[in-house]
């Protein structure tokens, strides 16, 4: 049996610079059989291995139905991600995965979907947005709320503009600080929550971003009577192995890499309110 820690080789087919520090790697497994067998669900992640440097967990942003490529959108921030930023088309890296529990797409069927994200927290939800838009009849209203610190940090502005034109879809974006010609809200993302049309009985919420932002979102949703069972969060913790062995990602009794990264808010509520867990 192969080790759960052994990566497969993948090739960078395309590299897209999304913002000064954010880039997308469009990948293909070099072994055609491995590529054909590769399956994931939105919300799962891969371990990206840069030769001689190390591994990082990164969510998958592409559509699971895309048979050609799978995409990772990464911010160049640390030792490994700065190295990944230097990869060019044709370069190779290692991929292990997919790992973890993704978004509750079956439970979400027939419901209104509200997706609240902050910063690069939007990346793990892009796959789910595309998934829903391609199966539009199965879902109710779609509301996308995204907050960024500075308007320059908003990646995928054209996608958001396109999504805003889709039927039954509302897009609300906020930047704490905005440059010229910023068409969206200037201020905290929490300030646009009230503009979202939410029917608490029909809504399922998916959130990803800084925990403080998610907790502010939860507070607002709870005030609007959205049940704790209908709110889902994607959490982030340190990960080395991604298979529940190394112990770094523990959040209370949960292994975020296996039991998450997507959790039902009702299940982790007592832990989320404690600092430093």
């Amino acid at each position: 049996m192969t080790s759960p820690s052994l990566p497969h080789e993948a090739e960078v087919m395309e590299r897209v610079q999304e913002s000064p520090s954010i880039f997308t790697l469009r990948l293909r497994m070099t072994d055609a059989k491995v590529h054909a067998a590769y399956r994931f669900v939105p919300g799962q992640f891969n371990m990206l291995s840069l030769f001689g440097v190390g591994e990082v967990p990164i969510s998958i942003v592409s559509d699971p139905q895309d048979e050609q490529l799978f995409d990772h959108t990464v911010r160049a921030l640390g030792r490994v991600t700065n190295g990944l930023a230097a990869l060019k088309s044709g370069d190779r890296l290692g991929i292990r995965g997919p790992f973890g529990r993704g978004w509750p797409l079956v439970e979400a069927e027939g419901r209104d979907i509200v997706i609240i994200t902050g910063g690069l927290g939007c990346a793990p939800t892009v796959a789910v947005i595309n998934y829903i838009l391609r199966r539009r009849a199965r879902y109710g209203r779609l509301t996308l709320i995204q907050g960024v610190k500075h308007s320059d940090d908003l990646i995928w502005a054209q996608r958001y503009a396109r999504w805003a034109r889709e039927p039954d879809t509302q897009v609300l974006i906020a930047a704490n600080v905005a440059g010229p010609l910023w068409p969206w809200h200037v201020g905290q993302v929490t300030e646009v929550f009230e503009r979202a049309a939410i029917d608490p009985a029909r809504t399922l919420v998916m959130m990803c971003g800084p925990e403080g932002m998610m907790l502010a979102g939860v507070e607002h949703l709870r005030e609007r009577r959205v049940p704790a069972e209908a709110i889902w969060l994607s959490l982030e913790r340190s990960m080395h192995c991604a298979v529940g062995h190394c112990g770094h990602c523990q959040f209370g009794p949960e292994f975020v890499c296996q039991d998450g990264p997507v959790f039902r808010y009702a299940d982790v509520q007592p832990l989320l309110n404690v600092r430093g867990l």
């Binding site: 291995s49 591994e55 290692g94 340190s238 192995c241 190394c246």
Partner: protein, 369 residues
């Protein structure tokens, strides 16, 4: 279970011979640097004859007596953990050719057959937990599995618990209940021998065993009973999960953090702590790189580090993570507490923090269940 056999002390060397002839490298307790450690056992002379351990919070000392016994001590710092979950090992290698193509190759450990003599009941309980952690999930660990498959376990029932021991309260000792291949009860003139597996029976069949007399059997049992009775420490309950997670803001966490050095000794000596980090070490020629795992501790700054943020920022958060995981989270993860009552974290803590005292302070000293 059939009546145990009796192996005269003078015939103990034949056990080592039988194990060696069966293809095992013998690992056994011996004194090194003032502590009892498990290492390759070349002869019965290497065993700690007449050695006793005196343990207390922050203290581990060996004492000598005229006793002929070689298992008249409680624990050394190691348990079985380093033999199976080795402190540092390479998981895979990557090779990069001149075109930049990568090839990943798994590093499978040479599965050397090991026979460990002198395994304690608490260490067997910890082994069962590590078996669950590394083997029972969706991603069994190949290196652990290879080592585990070729391991022969020769338990020695504990008759000399240290002051730091509390295996009775966790339900894990002092007698090894099962999961051994052979179990020995040490008496002054020899050993009662029980077999717990076919591999153990095959070894036992080669030994000059006499029928164990009723007197010897009752002496062995009386010593086990005495070992259980003399333990002073205990945890408030075998399941503190709910109480611990209901007390995450208890002032005691900070009080303990004021004493705790965050050194990680407790996690190193704990037979169930499994945290490890993974990292890559490229060769100087740039052509190959090794991916290693190495024991890590939840008491380090790096353990919870994510992009500019250390989640467990201070010692309070780190000690809380360790204790709530050990006595709380394990119940969700593996169906029982992660503590087997060996007391190592108490003795090897440089400031003598006592897990039983901390648990009682946070959870209240409720009735034992």
């Amino acid at each position: 279970m059939p009546a145990p056999g009796f192996l005269a002390r003078t015939a103990l060397a034949q056990l080592l011979t039988a194990l060696t002839q069966a293809g095992y490298r013998c690992i056994g307790p011996q004194v090194r640097d003032g502590a009892i450690v498990y290492d390759t056992l070349r002869s019965v002379q290497d065993l700690p004859h007449g050695v006793h351990d005196r343990q207390a919070p922050g203290s581990y000392r060996l004492e000598l007596s005229e006793s002929p016994r070689c298992f008249a001590w409680a624990t050394g710092p190691q348990a079985l953990k380093p033999l199976l979950f080795v402190p540092r090992e390479t998981l895979w290698h990557a090779e990069r050719d001149v075109q930049g193509a990568l090839r990943f190759a798994e590093t499978v450990p040479a599965a050397e057959a090991l026979a460990v003599i002198g395994v304690r009941a608490c260490d067997l309980a910890a082994l069962r937990l590590h078996d669950q952690h590394f083997l029972a999930g969706a991603y069994p660990d190949p290196a652990y599995r290879a080592r585990r498959a070729s391991l022969l376990l020769i338990a020695v029932h504990c008759t000399h618990p240290a002051d730091s021991c509390f295996c009775v309260s966790t339900g894990d000792g002092p007698r090894a209940a099962d999961d051994f291949d052979l179990a020995l009860s040490e008496l002054d003139d020899g050993f009662l021998v029980e077999a717990g597996s076919d591999a153990g029976r095959r070894i036992a069949a080669t030994l000059p065993l006499e029928t164990a007399s009723v007197a010897r059997q009752s002496t062995a049992h009386a010593e086990s009973e005495h070992a259980a009775r003399t333990q002073q420490r205990r945890l408030p309950s075998r399941n503190l999960r709910a109480t611990l997670f209901a007390n995450l803001e208890h002032p005691r966490w900070q009080e303990t953090a004021n004493r705790c050095l965050s050194c990680g000794n407790c996690t190193s000596v704990c037979p169930t702590c499994f945290c490890h980090r993974e990292h890559d070490e490229p060769a100087l020629d740039g052509k190959t790189s090794a991916h290693l795992r190495q024991w890590d501790s939840c008491f380090t700054q790096g353990h919870s580090y994510i992009h500019g943020l250390t989640v467990h920022a201070g010692t309070r958060e780190r000690y809380r993570q360790w204790l709530t995981h050990k006595l709380g989270g394990w119940h969700d993860q593996y169906g029982r507490s992660g503590c087997v009552g060996c007391g190592r974290c108490i003795s090897w803590c440089p400031v003598g923090i006592d897990i039983t005292e901390e648990a009682a302070a946070i959870c209240g000293d409720t009735a034992h269940d």
